[in-house]
Symmetry: D2
Subunit: 397 residues, 4 copies
């Protein structure tokens, strides 16, 4: 059983608390910090905490506090993490880790030097569907991974600070792209190095300084390619989809808008339907169990089990740092319009990989390009002559 | 924190254990009973129980046992329940409660006389999608409920005793229909009396004495109708779908085969995909989180919270008894080919309801039948003259 | 190229005309009859006919008329058919053929005596998806058919006469059930005799004399079972789904509400979306090509090709008669609450079938019940001992 | 009624012929040219043509030929078009128009100088779903279009020449990207100028010289962005999906793999299921009506109607030329890794557009960023102060 200090009492802090205190759980938020006393107090009451405070260090330093959960705006992460280091408290931090790789690197080095448990709360690599899909990818069901895409788009975040580039550090790339980058990186392999990034970003709709729509490509050292699609201009709810292509298979994940629960109502219903849903009449697609389906339960279970067992969780500050480095390259690319290298001063995975050759031999003289049955019933192969390079077709049946 | 004695170590017992010991949970199975020593021992080891036994009463009577979880074949439920009454242990029982209403009634009366906590483990009214849908129904999003259907079909159960009519007490109606009946009854209203049942059942494929396919209709006192479709002959996996129609809306739930995770694989994968999946190549549709998506987590959380709070869970032996009474009528109807009344000696809901009248007034002289826009752009109403009963059409725009 | 006299200028007549005059077609509606001059005239103009009339016989008797297309209310079919017989014109009639089997039988006998081409316009066995599915069923992809279900529900028909039991002859069973009965009958086999029907019907919502919701089961001589679900009370659009179960497979068809085109709009759109859609904001699911997707194109192509080739179309008045006979039994059953026999004075399919035995031999002493892989990796078979009837489980790997 | 000379007798020629001779159509292929006599002869027999030839000019020049349909490998388009110009025959050509913009431009100038009817056979902007979606986009249902994406991936083409870069002119960008580029261009507006292209392309799997996987972005003058995803390495069938985002809505189209027909079979079926399907057991997703669902029927109907009416079809050689120009930029970008300008010597749309400003005024002092209901029931607005640029949150209810 772990006692938690929660920093921040906003939208994400409440989602975390719902999960932490959820189904028969052992763990307990004992104190909550918020910049606004009123908000801190309401949170304390809503979640039955023992106390609240508007002094961040007080919340962290409490003798009975086992772990600090940071649910603050991006610009406050670093200060909070440094206080955790000072007081030697285990720390878990919402995403993104920093506003940029420089911040993230300082945090990473600090927690490692302090020797404290550090967890990066990237919930979307803990959704039940991701976990199931990832298990299949690891088991080789998809063969060699060629491409992984992750998309998160919705009509924009709930809190004001997201829209302020100083506090947030960026727009939808930082807010949503951090998810997509870690999801696709995990499918491709966390030990494979992200090499360079091409990114388009624009402010198409909202009266803000940051981007509200972006598409990016991330090239990995082994030739695999990752893609992110993020936006705060999407209409229709929260679109949260991943796709993976491998040489032996394909995976499609829909985490939110089409999950097997469909409701039509003429509109007499007035209840809250789902995070970022845009209407409460007509066809609606609520998810059954937001807390679980968005990965919070599996994420916190793994984090706390690791804390107890003294092991490292799947997502640490190191992962947060790698993600920030990719994001930095994306922002740079959006400006320079060039493929920008990913700057990784710290890299703990494989190096020096090259794109493997994957020729499939058909016979002594030919490589196989494709085998197929046409709609005229013919079975044929398309071959490449090894010597001449000529493409040939051969009906075999 | 509750200490549990598990009776039974088979398929369902293991599902229960996975959930009971799941995500950071407080509760613990301390002892397990099985008729076969080997099975009991393996279960003990797999789930880290303190002990095992082949003596059912010993398992139940343990001084440290707070609650007994019955995961036994249907024909053993009653004996186990009676022992729980004798030793005054809280008891939760897998579905169906009895093989018939007579058994169920004896169990119900016994636990109530003994004054012990009793929970009926009908997991499918605790699936995240059901809970979300049910909330909308209660909030009136669908208006008055007219029809509710539940379908559970798959290629047949995993354990031998299901196929033996003596141990099981019946075929797929008892095994699967119990779910469907409680699901639809809950949507229609648990205080609305089921009145009569029409049921078709047949043994179409399997070399067994019990039915392997059945369709039934259950009429409720307020005019609503429930429908169940159950089979052990379905090909394609586990088909678990519910539908509800109300005067103001519709709900479609797909709990298993189409939930937003889709995978194509050429077949190099050899891993277990999902309960009752039939293949491991081609397009596959694994669920993310079987334990949660089948309702086990929410069910046990509610049961244990109620135990602690001294309140009654949503599903008690009384509900199990009502379901058994409906099933009895279904079996009788399948033989007599008549609508058979549901025999409910014990009924704790509303009585004497009649089908309400729901005329919608258009103007002083007319009822409204329908309002619509045709594809020629005309807006029109179809009316019924109150005095003459004549149907009239009126273009209003 | 065929010249057509259209009888009726309402909703269905216009759908037919859109198809008949559609994509590069050869055929032409040259005259149109309607009881209301204004309606006939407008139809003539909209579809570029040569003439119109309010005299039905005049329309039929025209020397240049090759074929008569009946798109009239149900109570006018018989008179129109008799005039076609008198004038020896090929006739194609909308569904249902008659208001009951007696009417249908008279029409069937009359067209056969007159020796005229007769087609029954059951478009839903001509939808592209039905045709594709049916081809697979015929090829044996599903093995022996066990169950076929068809569902058609929507918020009620467009024209006033449907709501008037005298003109329509019934409610949603006659209007929609006729589709479902022919769809399921075709999947099971048109030469297999429908034996008896159990039907529930009620007027749950609308202020009308006919039923607005009904569920029915039709038993076939070979043990297969058909199911129809029809309603005028459904909310959410036009729900048009079929399902088939066979010993080797399963088919699910969604003809209308989920076909791969999904649109979210905040509501600035004001255009007609699809037949029987209920809203024009939020998530909408228009079909791409109503005329084709509802089967009209393939149906008329087959009808006119058969006329030219002197062959019989797949759907003749005989099929319409069989459907009416099943409907008669359904109406009777709804009143008597009994399984009612289907009265078929004329039957041209197989007779005397019994339910086949389908035991699968495992070895000399056992039948196979089921083979499976559990989630513990065990491969096992469940067997029935031929001699003792005992159920046994055997782990084989 | 039109008489057609078909050039080419391969996969696409047969698809075209099935459509041209399909449902009750007036038009007729009277002659067919193929380089291989055997293939020409078989085509003639299969489609009941009057004659065949291995001399291309002979096929084109026939006195009775009204229109020439080019279904040849890409490298033969130009020669065929020039012969049509010489003989003043209407010409319709499969996609892509040329192997590059230079070829396309020569063909465009030639047909316009010759004054002959020219149609570009881009079927995927004629699919029923595209047509329906496009109608909604034109009606404003989605507001201003921000982004359009089209994806076409499958396991590779059927004929050998596609895999030979000399004959084909390129890999999957040319083969599949031409579809995606025209689809997205049409959604964004065919009068909006494509400005520059960023493209990633690689040969990840196949032993060929051309690319087998590519992702590209196309920037339009009004700030809208198009995206294509094309591959010959996809496993799972033919993935054909489009997505559009506008300020007021969203469209998702699935043209092939999920269209509402789902079949599970244990594998006794051996019949051809669908174009580019990869298996015939397990869960299969055949389309109902390939010919219609892939747009061929609506495309040819429009082409021939325009020929008769003397009007221009929606897709002409000019469109083919624009598409080729975008593809040229894509290939260049894949090599230079830069955003490459689209070279359009001929441009007939709008020019000089800039990204419009779309600020939404909240009150005299503020722009509206977002309005929302949180899950705590609060209704709030997020605003931007016009003077200070500061982001503010205001609870309004």
């Amino acid at each position: 059983m772990k006692k938690i200090a929660m920093l921040g009492s906003g939208f994400i802090g409440r989602f975390y608390a719902d999960s932490l205190h959820g189904q028969r759980s052992k763990d307990k938020i004992i104190t909550v910090y918020s910049r606004r006393e009123e908000a801190a107090k309401k949170f304390k009451e809503d979640y039955g905490c023992e106390r609240f405070t508007t002094d961040m260090e007080e919340a962290i330093a409490g003798a009975d506090v086992d772990v600090v959960c940071i649910s603050l705006p991006n610009n406050l992460h670093e200060a909070a993490v440094m206080l955790c280091c000072k007081h030697k408290k285990a720390v878990i931090t919402t995403k993104p880790l920093g506003r940029n790789a420089a911040e993230a690197k300082r945090m990473l080095l600090a927690v490692e030097e302090a020797g404290i448990f550090n967890g990066y709360l990237e919930d979307l690599v803990y959704t039940p569907k991701f976990l199931k899909a990832y298990e299949s990818v690891k088991n080789g069901a998809l063969g060699r991974i060629l491409w992984a895409k992750s998309r998160e788009t919705h009509p924009g975040p709930h809190s004001d600070w997201f829209w302020d580039i100083e506090q947030a550090g960026g727009g939808c790339i930082l807010d949503l792209g951090c998810h997509c980058i870690e999801i696709t990186r995990t499918f491709i392999g966390k030990d494979i190095k992200p090499i360079e990034v091409m990114c388009w970003a624009d402010t198409q709709v909202k009266p803000i300084d940051a981007e509200d729509h972006s598409i990016g490509l991330v090239k990995y050292e082994n030739g695999a390619i990752a893609q992110f699609e993020v936006s705060w201009t999407f209409r229709g709810g929260l679109d949260l989809r991943d796709e993976v292509m491998g040489t032996e298979g394909t995976i499609w994940i829909n985490n939110f808008l089409r999950t097997g629960l469909e409701m039509f109502t003429t509109g007499k219903a007035t209840d809250y339907v789902a995070e970022k849903s845009e209407s409460n009449a007509g066809w609606l697609f609520p998810v059954g169990d937001e807390i679980n389906d968005l990965g919070y339960n599996h994420m916190f279970a793994e984090m706390f089990n690791c804390m107890e067992n003294g092991t490292e969780p799947r997502e640490t500050f190191y992962d947060g740092y790698v993600v920030n480095a990719v994001i930095d390259a994306a922002y740079k690319s959006a400006k320079t319009k060039l493929w920008e290298p990913v700057q990784l001063d710290i890299w703990r995975g494989q190096s020096g990989l090259s794109k493997e050759s994957h020729l499939v031999e058909y016979d002594a003289d030919h490589y196989l390009i494709k085998e197929e049955t046409t709609h005229y019933g013919a079975k044929k192969v398309i071959l490449k002559n090894k010597a001449t390079g000529k493409i040939e077709e051969k009906v075999i049946e």
